[in-house]
Each structure stands twice: as C-alpha cells, then as structure tokens.
C-alpha cells in the first residue's frame, strides 16, 4: 500500500463509494408518512398494518432478487415458517411476542441454510422451480399436520385450512395487542419494520452488499476476482430468510390467527410482483410496490367486488404496464424525473 494517505478520494466517483451509505433527506419520507397514516386514517389501521408487514416481506425478497439476482417464487417458505413458529409457540403456552420473533427468525434461517444449500447450486429456471417446489412442500406439510396424534388422542396442530386462533402476551409486559383498533399492533409492526430496514440498508451499503451486486451483474467475473460466490449467496439467502420469517411472525401475531395461507403460492407470487412493481434492487421499491399493490387489491375489491377475475385482471394489467413502460419500477419513474430535473446523471441501473 502506498504510504501516501489515500490519494484520489476527493473525486466525485470516489465520493459516491465513500458516502453511498449516508442518509438522504427523502429517506425520512416513508416513516413520516407511516406515522401520519396512523392518525389520519384510524379506520384503515388493519390494512396499514398489513402493508407494513408486506413491506418487510418484500424487502427481504429484494435483498436476494434485487441485489444478489436470486429470483425466488417460494419466499413464503420462510414467511410461513416464521408465522407458524410464532403461532405454534403462542398456542402452546409461549405467548411472549418478542422472543417468538427471534425464534421465527432462527427457524426460518435454519430452513434457509438447508434449502439454500441445495437450491443455490442451480441457476435461472431450475432455481425458480426449486424455490417453488420447496414452498409447496411446506404448504402440503402444514395441511397434513392440521391434527396430530399424541398418545392416541387427536390434538389440533396447524389447524390446516381452518387455522388456529391464539393470543400473545403484552409486548414487554406493557402493551397489549389491540385486535379492534390496531393501535399497538400498528406501532409494533412499524418498529420491527424500521429495525429490519436498518439491518438491510446497512448490509447493502457494506462491501458485502456491493459484492452481491457484482454477483447479480456478472457472476463469471466474480469467480474470476476470487469471490466465494456460493458462500456469499448462501449467507444473504439465510439473512433474507430470517427477515421473511420475522415478517411472517408479525403478520400472524397482529391478527391473532393463522391459516395455511401463509405458505400459499399466490402470496409468493404477489410479493415478487410487489418488488417488480416498485423497482428491484433499490429498497424503497419494496415500500412503494407493497403499498400500491395492497391498496390496489383492497380498492378493486371495494369497487369491482370480490370476484377474483377482477382483481387478477387488475394485477395483470398493472404488471404488464409496469414491465412495458417502467422496467425499473414505479420508483424508477421518480428517479428519472428527479435526475432530469436536477440535471445529474442517473445512479446505478438495476
């Protein structure tokens, strides 16, 4: 190393790298909006809480899809496992919610190690199919385990399609979950989302996160610069699984019930649509995608009725329009407008 103290760092390009992790003013917006929504729309807190959970789920998926380029159609494997971990703990006497989140993260992470060890050796369509197969297997398993026999006696376990209802202790022994007004539930989801977001944001701006982008951009080149590609992919897959597990756990904790819907293939597809809609590989795309998707879903139901065809048509059309006219997602549109206004060249392409 030259003893000269780091020459050349004052150039714009070097500053991009040196300061990439610093917070920008607009990054406060999602959180301000989230807080404002709580007070402005008290009647929509259930929906808003679901959006927060979906944002967290979408963020976990963006970490592997948008950064490392691992496209998964089975991320519900981890969401569902986290959800069942929290639900089954609560239903069997462990109602402390925060430790249940930790347990959900650990269980999802263990599953991530096992499935990732197999799946991440493949690429493209094979990988996509394996992620799907894995989540469908878990769906069937949860369905089969609706009732289990203990000492000749049949006991409800997952409850299958009917699901189970359970209740949690107060958070930190102070804040009871509020099934009617969703006050505590909303803040709980928001605080955990914020914590999860900080972890993900730190990772993507660290050298590790940049190496993931390298893997997405050109895996051959990463091998040729000596990067342990499989290990990097496995590590990020496990982190993503753990965060998805926490999202699943919050999802069922705030509702106080669970059904095998948490493993459903449709949900895995939806969350992938959310990040494509919002824009992959840019974190805030998950916020926009999950919000727009969930509101659209709700709105369509109110206006056009609950017939699936209407909703599916709306999703289909939105997705086609996004892919055709905004390949970088809705956030990409904002970025382009912002870039042309401020006269700067756009940042990294996805």
């Amino acid at each position: 190393m030259p003893s000269q103290q780091h020459a050349g760092l004052n150039t714009a390009a070097a500053q991009d790298l040196m300061r990439g992790h610093r917070f920008r003013w607009y990054e406060v917006l999602p959180w301000v909006i989230a807080i404002a929504v709580f007070f402005a729309f008290p009647g929509y807190r259930l929906l808003a809480t679901q959006i927060l959970v979906m944002i967290m789920f979408a963020l976990s998926l963006d970490l592997i899809v948008g950064y490392a380029g691992i496209v998964s159609l089975g991320h519900t494997a981890f969401f569902g496992t986290g959800a069942y971990t929290a639900a089954l703990l609560a239903n069997n006497g462990w109602g402390e919610p925060l430790s249940a989140l930790l347990a959900a993260a650990v269980m999802a992470a263990i599953l991530g190690v096992i499935s990732g060890w197999i799946i991440l050796r493949t690429h493209g369509l094979t990988l996509l199919m394996l992620t799907m197969a894995f989540s469908i297997m878990l769906y069937e398993l949860a369905k089969d385990l609706d009732v289990i026999k203990i000492g000749g006696e049949e006991v409800t376990f997952t409850g299958g399609f009917d699901g189970i209802n359970f209740s949690n202790d107060a958070i930190l022994g102070l804040f009871e979950f509020d099934a009617v007004w969703y006050g505590v539930n909303y803040w709980y989801a928001l605080v955990i989302l914020f914590a999860g977001f900080l972890v993900i944001r730190t990772i993507v701006h660290a050298p590790f996160g940049r190496a993931l982008i390298g893997i997405r951009e050109n895996v051959d080149r990463m091998h040729a610069v000596g990067s342990p590609v499989f290990r990097r992919k496995l590590v990020v897959y496990v982190i993503s699984a753990a965060i998805a597990g926490v999202a699943g756990a919050i999802f069922v904790q705030v509702q106080g019930n669970i059904t095998i819907g948490v493993y459903e293939f449709e949900l895995a597809g939806n969350v992938l649509i959310m990040i494509i809609l919002g824009g992959t590989g840019r974190l805030y795309g998950a916020f926009i995608g999950a919000t727009v998707f969930t509101i659209l879903e709700n709105f369509t139901e109110h206006v056009l009725g609950t017939d699936p065809p209407y909703w599916e048509l709306t999703v289909g059309l939105t997705l086609v329009l996004t892919v055709l006219f905004a390949p970088r997602g809705l956030l990409g549109i904002f970025e382009s407008v912002f870039a042309s206004r401020s006269g700067r060249t756009a940042g990294r392409t996805a």
Partner: protein, 251 residues
C-alpha cells in the same frame, strides 16, 4: 532451473471426440513474458480456462509454484495468485468503472465479506481502486457505466481488474483485441510496470504485440504444443510458418 511459477503436466481435455487439450506439458518461469500463439480453434482459450479452473481437465495436473491446484475451484486459484483477463469483456455492465475496480479490490483485500460497516469505512480500498483506474488512464470515465463505455476502454478495465488482484501469474487472453492502436501502449505499459517476478502469459493474434512483448513463445496447434522457443526461433521455424504464419499470409 528455479521452481516454475506455473506448470501443466499431461493436461488433457476433450469435448466428445474433439480433443482441445492434448497432453499439454507447459512451464512458465517467474518473471516470464511468454506468448501463446496458434490458429483459431487451436485451444488457446481452453488452455487458459483449464489453468484458471473454469474447465476441469479430463486428466493431468496444474501446478502453481509447485503445488497441485487441479482440484481447486476458480476463486481459490485466484486467491493463490492466478489472475486473468477474458477474451470477451466480462465486466459488471451496469456499474461504473470505479465500482468495477472496487469490487475486485475489495475481494482481493479481503473486505468483501464485511456486512455491518459501510464501504466508506475503508478508504484504503477505494483509494487502491482509484490508483488502478488512474494507472490505466481511466480517470475521466470513473462514473461512466461499463455499458456506456467504448469497447476499447472496457479492455483497459479488464486489465485493471486483473492487476487489482496482484497476481503471481497473469493470463491475458487477447488483451489488445478491440483496443485502438493509439491506446494499446497504455495496456502494454501497465503490464510492463508489473513487479519483475510476476509471470505473464499472453494469448494474442496481433503479431506486433506478441513480438514487442514476449521473450518466449509457444505455438499451439489442435490442442497440442507444436514448439516453444524465442521469438527469433519461432519466426524462423518452417513448420510454424506452414501452419500458422503462412496461413495468415494467405488469409
């Protein structure tokens, strides 16, 4: 003779009936400036892929500094000191020139696994990427993405990435192909500036570059070594003229 920096023994590889490496015995001494030439389809790039671990040989061995590395994965060979450039640019298309170099440097300096500290916490890594960029005269394009960069300039990024890995053995697969002749000296200067003990192997079609650069030459034909010698010996060899130079003169 000292321990060769790189050695292959009876290296054999076939795709079906097509033999692309026919029991190649080859040695590269520390500090060598060696060229491999041969007609199209002679197996030059295959040979590089066998050395770097992109391809697994059917039989035979690859040794780096006397140690058998035949079983090692590509990335592990890089860690032990083999770096390469690709015949066809293999870069991070959506990233800027500096970001491309940063990725190589951060892997080489062992910081690419860091998860909870920002890239900016290691200015030494960024500074090293900047230094390599300046060395290849790429400073003006620091914030240009590879996709927007002219092909010849991309070749320079290829070289810069390989140099970032501070290799003991550097394999250059047609580095000058597509580089405007006005810029090819940047490339050769950068290679000439390497520490003298680094062994450099170049695959090249441009005979000007070969004869300017190489102190010794191996001619590869149909996956087998035809002859190894000094540039003069190769230029005067009748057999080489027949299969290679003659062919070029005709074609």
């Amino acid at each position: 003779m000292s321990q060769p920096a790189l050695e292959t023994r009876d290296l054999h590889k076939a795709f079906g009936a097509l033999v692309v490496a026919n029991d190649i015995d080859f040695a590269l001494q520390p500090g060598a400036r060696h060229a491999i030439i041969g007609p199209n389809g002679a197996g030059k790039t295959t040979f590089v892929n066998l050395i770097t671990g992109v391809l697994k040989p059917d039989s035979g061995h690859v040794l780096l500094g006397g140690k058998d590395i035949t079983a090692l994965a590509q990335a592990e060979r890089v860690k032990r000191g083999i770096a390469r450039t690709f015949q066809i640019n293999t870069l991070f298309g959506g990233l800027t020139v500096l970001e491309n170099l940063y990725l190589a440097v951060s892997e080489h300096m062992g910081v690419a696994g860091l998860m909870f500290r920002p890239a900016g916490a290691r200015p030494d890594v960024v500074a090293e990427a900047v230094r390599l960029m300046e060395m290849l005269k790429l400073g003006d394009d620091a914030r240009t993405t590879i996709a927007e960069l002219p092909y010849g300039r991309q070749r320079l990024v290829e070289i810069a990435i390989a140099l970032a890995l501070e290799p003991k053995v550097l394999l250059l697969d047609e580095p000058a192909a597509g580089v405007p002749s006005a810029e090819s000296h940047i490339l050769l200067d950068a290679v000439a500036g390497l520490p003298p003990e680094v062994a450099v192997l170049i695959i090249e079609h441009d005979m000007d570059v070969v004869f300017r650069f190489a102190h010794s030459i191996t001619v590869l034909v149909s996956g087998a070594v035809l002859i190894t010698g000094t540039p003069d010996e190769i230029a005067d060899n009748a057999e080489v003229r027949a299969v290679y130079l003659g062919e070029q003169a005709r074609g």
